[in-house]
């Protein structure tokens, strides 16, 4: 953690985005996580992505559960309302918030304990519903705040710092998200900003449940030899299926890819995702094939990363429910109260 607050003043030459904001305007409070924590890199990637997308910080709501990862919304987007809820319940709280105002951008931040153990049910069900959100799981395979117990995403055979070996099967959140109907599923690594930032941007532009499982090594409790969530292990076993470029709506595609090696996915908001194929056979529009591929590679001990699945034409929860376009939280008596005369009619029906 950093103890020295950065000065508010910044270099006049610091680049600004279309809104006139610098990257610094997207920062939050000083992180209280351990120095070198993967989660801080993810916060930095979120800041970068929002800066580059010209997002107004106050139009973002950031919600989390409990754990090291869930503390991070305090450390980015200081001008966004935050909600640090209870353990494992971020998805439901976010779902409710989203129902109240469909116009904001919803960032849900969680960890592997929060999502794969206590919150597994809520994780699965918010995917099923297609809540329009970015769900980031900062996955380190370990309980940090309670000092080093295995989490449900720890691989079988993985060694704890004290030497204990995990005997339980791991929960793969990416496969689960695919099974539950998530319409945007990706995995990345906190140490790979080049991959992570465009994935976050594409996920924000996606309408529906976008899941980002980000392997984020715990430098204090899970970064030793024998851990499968350490920096070294992930670097050695990282197998990216594609390299992606995100082009926001209103911008032209300027780079051409050789046919057969790339593909362009157009999202609902008019943005594009340009995917350079690193595995010629990998098709991110095929849910079944994605699941099979993941199982095969994981059995071979590899960590598959990249944009694993996308359905750009999906409908979100509001469309399923047929709600009005205006946010429900802006409705007044005139919109909501059926009035005295109608009550008279209703009374008559109960006589």
């Amino acid at each position: 953690m950093t103890y020295i607050a950065k000065p508010k003043l910044h270099h006049p030459g610091l680049p600004t985005n279309a809104l006139g904001f610098t990257r610094r305007d997207y920062e939050g409070r000083i992180s209280t996580l351990c120095a070198g924590c993967g989660h801080d890199s993810i916060s930095a990637a979120l800041i970068q992505a929002c800066f580059e997308l010209d997002i107004e910080p106050h139009r973002v709501a950031k919600l989390s559960g409990i754990g090291c990862s869930s503390k991070t919304p305090d450390y980015f987007l200081g001008q966004s309302h935050g909600f640090n809820s209870v353990h494992g319940r971020m998805p439901s709280v976010l779902t409710g918030a989203n129902l109240a105002n469909r116009e904001l951008i919803y960032l849900g931040v969680s960890g592997d304990g929060d999502s794969a153990s206590i919150g597994l049910g809520q994780f699965a069900h918010c995917m099923r519903r297609g809540v329009n959100m970015v769900y980031i799981c900062e996955n380190n395979g370990v309980y940090g705040l309670t000092k080093g117990q295995f989490s449900a995403t720890a691989d079988k055979g993985s060694k704890a710092k004290g030497g204990a070996v995990n005997t339980d099967s791991p929960i793969d959140l990416v496969s689960l998200a695919l099974l539950m109907g998530a319409s945007f599923v990706a995995r990345s690594f906190s140490g790979d900003k080049k991959q992570l930032v465009p994935l976050i941007k594409a996920a924000i532009a996606h309408r529906g449940s976008a899941v980002l499982d980000v392997i984020s090594p715990c430098v204090t409790f899970n970064n030793h030899a024998g851990s499968t969530k350490s920096f070294d292990f992930v670097r050695d076993h990282n197998e990216a299926v594609n390299k992606l470029d995100f082009v926001p709506a209103k911008k032209e595609i300027t780079v051409d890819y050789e046919p057969g090696t790339s593909e362009v996915v157009r999202q609902h908001d008019g943005s594009f995702i340009k995917l350079a194929k690193l595995h010629p056979d990998y098709d991110p529009s095929n849910r079944v094939a994605a699941l099979t591929y993941l199982q095969e590679r994981e059995a071979a001990g590899e960590v598959v990363t990249g944009l694993l699945y996308i359905d750009p034409d999906t409908q979100d929860l509001h469309e399923h429910l047929g709600t009005v376009d205006a946010p429900l939280n802006r409705m007044t008596e005139d919109d909501l109260c059926p009035g005295v005369d109608m009550l008279e009619t209703i009374n008559a029906e109960y006589r």
Binding site: H58, L63, D74, H81, G96, V324, N347, Y350
Partner: protein, 609 residues
């Protein structure tokens, strides 16, 4: 033994097998009596089961308008062989028994004092219908027809209702009317002059309506401006969420776009339901959930969050018999303590106690105003008796001028004008701070909501002094709540009374009758109907003004009484508990017996001294 003779004042009970289609026929009977201008109180006593288990429907016909259960049965319609012995035993001395006489029943199965009303229902059905389902369903209508004759009812009232009921399925009208006539004609031929129970036209119903509490509360949530309902199915609360949905589909669909000004989500469990409710309320939409005891147990962690982070929320608790799974289809008032203090740490919540469906409608709307004004959880404590039974009550009312109280929400203009914002800062002295909604202003009014300890500006703090300051303000806010919640209702005796009685919720109907009966026997009691927690000053003053106070409750542990003892620091010796908790709604007879025994005991003791 003289057969019972009564006009417009008796109890008919139907003993059926659930899933046999009896419910709508029994309700038809009750509504027909209402159409004749005679008040009824009907109650379903049903099993936690879909088909095959015993179910009862009790209709109290009361020309005097008493709407509680009286206790006892004057006429039993015994349609369930499984419960025959118990049902026959329950009839009052000199009562009546209507039954299916198709197969001979041994004389030992009857009581000598009863007047028998045999109708060969199966035989009539088998003769008239070939379809087994029709044979089953019309049996119910046939006994309603027979009842209409023996009770001297106005057959046109029943026929009128049938025509209304099947307005949209017109081809069902004729067969139902025919079945009704089968029963009526049979009784006319065979049961003339044998029944001393009569229903005569009266003018005692007036403009009152016949509605269930869950239905009324769901409509109240529509009127109260709720836009988000997140819920998980649980008896006996399910029909509240369904009612909200039904009324919204009629009243809240934009006529042009056909889009919904509401969102209903069936959650994966009660925890997710309350999570959604908090998220939506945090973001400025009025949101609620409906549940029962087990759901309240599950929701506690987020209840505590609502209390501490000061997020409005509305929860309807349709109480059923506990503990654990308990008696899911029976009524109780046994969640009071759980609901009042749900959550770990020092936590308290606002509770409202509606007495009937009309007040459930009113309190449903009030709950949203209170929740947003106080920025806290408000629980509407209904029960199965109110929620799932149709009650005769005054028409639902709404004031044309009524505006929603959205509480202290700081706007973008106020922020822009430089108004100081501290999420947990008490600027008005009522201990209620201002909040902002996400997305309000680009650079002002932002805050971080957390369940961990925080200071006035919502910043994380582990400082003891900072923590205590917030906790003390929350206590003070609860004091503010006392002046905002519905006041108790006083029912004064005709003569000065040493005894007082406290009661709440669905006990009201039986209590009104009991008080009148006690008064007519010279036992004078002042009564106060408690309508909310925290308890207002009037509750304390009432207790202090009486030597002894009965507390009538439908739970084992005298929960309201204990809360009063603790919250108002009153000597427990002042109270006498009257507790009814077998799962059936409390009866007037029970209250009359329990109170008069104790009062007479007191008088005897006084005389001896």
């Amino acid at each position: 033994m003289q057969p019972i003779s009564a006009t417009n004042d008796f109890v008919v009970k139907f003993a059926n097998v659930n899933g046999s289609g009896s419910a709508s026929a029994n309700e038809l009977f009750a509504r027909s009596v209402l159409r004749m201008g005679v008040p009824v109180a009907s109650r379903n006593i049903f099993p936690s089961n879909i088909q095959g288990l015993p179910t009862w429907y009790e209709v109290r016909i009361s020309g005097d308008g008493w709407l509680g259960r009286r206790g006892g049965v004057d006429l039993m319609v015994a349609m369930n062989p499984q419960t025959w012995d118990k049902d026959v035993a329950e009839i009052e001395k000199g009562g009546y028994l209507l039954y299916d006489s198709t197969k001979p029943i041994p004389a030992s199965k009857f009581r000598k004092d009863l007047t028998l009303l045999p109708v060969p229902l199966t035989e009539i059905c088998n003769r008239a219908y070939s379809d087994p389902r029709q044979r089953q369903l019309f049996k119910n209508i046939i006994y309603v027809g027979a009842l209409a004759f023996v009770l001297d009812m106005d057959l046109s009232a029943v026929k009128w209702l049938i025509a209304e009921q099947f307005e949209n399925k017109k081809k069902l009208i004729a067969p139902n009317l025919q079945a009704l006539d089968f029963g009526y004609d049979y009784a006319k031929e065979h049961l003339k002059g044998v029944c001393g129970l009569k229903i005569r036209h009266a003018d005692k119903v007036g403009d009152r309506i016949f509605i269930g509490g869950n239905d009324a509360a769901g409509l109240g949530a529509v009127y109260g401006g709720a836009t988000v309902c997140a819920w998980y199915p649980i008896t006996p609360s399910t029909s509240l969420a369904e009612s909200f949905t039904k009324h919204c589909e009629r009243l809240r669909v934009d006529p042009v776009t056909k889009k919904n000004k509401f969102a209903v989500v069936q959650a994966e469990d009660e925890i997710a339901a309350i999570g959604m409710v908090l998220g939506a309320n945090w973001n400025g939409a009025r949101a609620f959930t409906a549940t029962s005891g087990p759901g309240i147990s599950l929701m506690q962690e987020l209840f505590g969050f609502s209390y501490y982070a000061e997020i409005p929320a509305v929860v309807f608790d349709i109480q059923r018999g506990g503990p654990s799974t308990g008696m899911p289809t029976r009524t109780q008032q046994s969640d009071l303590m759980l609901a009042a203090y749900a959550g770990h740490g020092d936590t308290k919540h606002v509770l409202l106690f509606p007495e009937d469906p009309r007040e459930s409608f009113e309190f449903a709307a009030t709950a949203f105003d209170l929740a947003e004004r106080l920025q806290t959880l408000v629980l509407v404590m209904m029960d199965l008796d109110i929620g799932m039974n149709d009650w005769l009550c005054k028409p639902l009312a709404w004031n044309k001028e009524r505006k929603y109280d959205r509480g202290k929400v700081m706007t973008a203009d106020e922020l822009e004008a430089g108004k100081e914002f501290g999420r947990y800062l008490d600027v008005d002295g009522d201990a209620i701070p201002y909040r902002t909604l996400p997305g309000t202003h680009p650079s002002k009014g932002v805050y971080f909501t957390r369940g961990s300890s925080h200071d006035r500006y919502a910043r994380y703090s582990e400082d003891g002094g900072v923590y205590v300051e917030v906790m003390q303000r929350l206590l003070q806010k609860f004091e503010t709540a006392k002046s905002l919640v519905p006041k108790p209702v006083l029912h004064k005796a005709k003569e000065p009374a040493k005894f007082g009685a406290l009661y709440f919720g669905s006990t009201s109907a039986a209590m009104d009758e009991a008080l009148a009966a006690l008064e007519s026997h010279g036992l004078h009691i002042d009564a106060l109907r408690v309508r909310a927690f925290p308890f207002s000053e009037e509750v304390v003053e009432f207790i202090n003004a009486h030597e002894q106070v009965f507390v009538v409750e439908q739970n084992r542990d005298a929960q309201l009484q204990k809360m009063i003892v603790n919250e108002c620091a009153i000597d427990p010796a002042r109270f006498i508990s009257i507790l009814h908790y077998d799962g059936t709604p409390v009866t007037a007879r029970f209250i009359i017996n329990a109170i008069s025994e104790r009062m007479k005991l007191g008088k005897a003791r006084e005389a001896a001294e």
